[in-house]
């Protein structure tokens, strides 16, 4: 078993290297057509972060929500469900954190207010996830589609709210909510927007890995996801395990939203949190649902997202180019996959 495991890891690393090389190669070709020197561009990307506290902080800013929503996609997949709703669950969490923070906690000290906001965020995420879950458990509705639809509904609800009910009265009539009070904001590291939530995110990923690989609970969860009938025969409470997993996952996505709101966003906009849930889904999708590898992939995606603006300044390459690199990497990694075949 040990040999099989190391072989699998070896294969994964080789695939990753081939993927990296191929993507960099393809992107290099693109750069040449743009009259850029690939080497200098790649150096510039690295330089974005060297000695640049702010940019490194941006990596952590993006990585927290991406990593946590990645877990929100990963956990249900292990028990046989598909949660595409991390996007909406995060946004709902961000919204809840702000609303509770502004309307309930403004007078409270930080050590009280922030946890309360986070609890609200988790609850909002769970509520978002509960609707598709009920649809699945009671009506056998396909949860992939319902979670996807919920994303759009949540976004519209937020848009409605910022144009009306929660619009900041002191905000010059911009469609934004009130800002969180100073003491309710998660403090950043000096010189950047990065903050301690990244540690929480990494710890969550590690805990997820531990649960699935080193605990009885994770063992049972994988049985449920691997062969539901086998779990039934063994007397496992399949529905209970699935429901709890799904709610925990959507709660985590909500928490990510709460963190994001309190540390970076501060107020709710129409586009608050947009895109993180999807990127989290992608981050786990390209590493085959492995929590530890998700840390790596989230890091990579965040870095690419973070270096765009600086890249433009340094090389004249429009910031969209870093997104091109990211999407090329993603597609190449997908292309390296192979459909599992039964013998």
């Amino acid at each position: 078993m040990q040999i099989a495991k190391t072989n699998a890891i070896k294969k994964g690393v080789i695939r990753f290297c081939i993927g990296a090389a191929a993507s960099l190669g393809i992107f290099a070709v693109f750069l040449l057509t743009q009259k850029q020197n690939p080497i200098s561009v790649y150096m510039a990307i690295i330089h974005c972060f060297v000695n640049n506290r702010y940019n490194v902080g941006e990596i952590w800013v993006h990585m927290t929500p991406i990593l946590i929503t990645g877990m929100a996609a990963l956990i249900p997949s292990k028990v046989g469900l598909c949660n595409c709703g991390g996007e909406g669950q995060l946004i709902a969490g961000a919204l809840a954190a702000n609303v509770v923070g502004v309307y309930c906690c403004s007078g409270m000290p930080g050590y009280l207010g922030i946890p309360i906001m986070m609890v609200a965020a988790v609850a909002a995420g769970m509520l978002c996830g509960a609707i598709p879950l009920i649809g699945k458990m009671c009506l056998n509705m396909n949860e992939t589609l319902t979670t996807l639809l919920m994303n759009y509904i949540v976004v519209k609800i937020v848009a409605f709210l910022v144009y009306g009910p929660i619009k900041d009265p002191n905000g010059n009539n911009y469609p934004m909510s009130a800002k969180l009070a100073e003491q309710l904001r998660i403090t950043s590291f000096t010189g950047s927007r990065g903050n301690w939530t990244i540690f929480v995110a990494v710890i969550i990923a590690i805990v997820v890995w531990i649960v699935f690989n080193k605990t009885e609970l994770g063992f049972k969860m994988k049985v449920v996801g691997g062969n539901g009938r086998a779990a039934q025969f063994a007397g496992y409470k399949v529905k209970k395990i699935q429901c709890i997993s799904f709610l925990v996952a959507s709660g985590l996505a909500g928490l990510a939203g709460g963190f994001f709101m309190s540390s970076v966003e501060i107020q709710v906009r129409e586009t608050t949190g947009s895109g993180y849930g999807f990127m989290g889904f992608l981050a786990t999708g390209i590493v085959g649902d492995n929590p530890l590898l998700s840390i790596v992939s989230s890091f990579m995606l965040s870095a690419l997202k973070a270096c765009g603006a600086t890249l433009e300044v340094n090389t004249g390459l429009r910031s969209a180019a870093s997104m091109i690199l990211m999407s090329v990497i993603l597609l190449v990694i997908f292309a390296l996959g192979r459909r599992k075949r039964d013998e």
Partner: protein, 307 residues
Amino acid sequence: MMSLIGDFILNTIRSGTPIIYALIGDLIGQRAGHISLSVEGSMLMGCCLGYTTCYYTGNLPLAVIVSILGGALIGFLQAHLNIACGANMFALALALNYFATSVTTYFGSSMISKSIKGFSKIAIPGLCKIPLIGNALFNQDILTYISFILPVLAYFVLYKTKLGLAVRSCGEVHQVAVAYGFDVKKLKYGAVIVAGMLAAVGGCQLSCAYTMTWTAEMSGGRGFIASALVILCCWKPLRAYFAAYLFGAAQALGILFQLMGLPIPTNIVNMAPYVITLIALAITAINKTPMMPEELKKIGRPLEIMN
């Protein structure tokens, strides 16, 4: 008052047209058992490529062809990376959309806030004078006219030809299609590529006929919406009229309310198509009549082996 209603109908049709293209496209793909959320990316490619071709060559048919090629590329990647390489359908679509967004934003930046002379309107004499609807239905560009008959064409192909039946059986019980000698892989690839191509034409219409301009991320989620609306149609092509123009009406209503100064929030109105789609999903789940193609019910679970 009359002009307000007339404008409302006009806006409904205008907003609904790109949706119909992407909707019919993804409907065909979903009938084959594959959900192509990447129609968003295909549409965007169509927007940008169509506009660029128009801008540099002024050749409209060429613009459409180049759009179609762009959409076909996205569709091909969607099919191939999922079927041959086992990528998750949705993650893949997201990646493809990022790809389309980044590429079109990058290459299209020089053309922002320029304008072209795109497809001009062709008025149908006599009919275009009908009050209220004349302007909306009979004074449009050719791509819009084509969109009017697209659902009917799709209906004909899917229900009245062997190929269409084979595509549908692919999405229901693909073993049956295999048993009768159809190449299920080819059918799926074909359907998904067609989805990309149609969505691209919708995008081309958006930039070359509707707005005659280009902005980054112009498709604005219309592709996603179209994908969701396929469910609202219960996968029946003729219902595309209802679904697409429902969405168009929601948008037009928003504009109307703004003009009239009504406080009804546009965002709630915009949410309506999604909520209705969710309800439609619930109904298809409860209903004994099979409406959702069987293969789609298996999505999210480990994919089966293709013969």
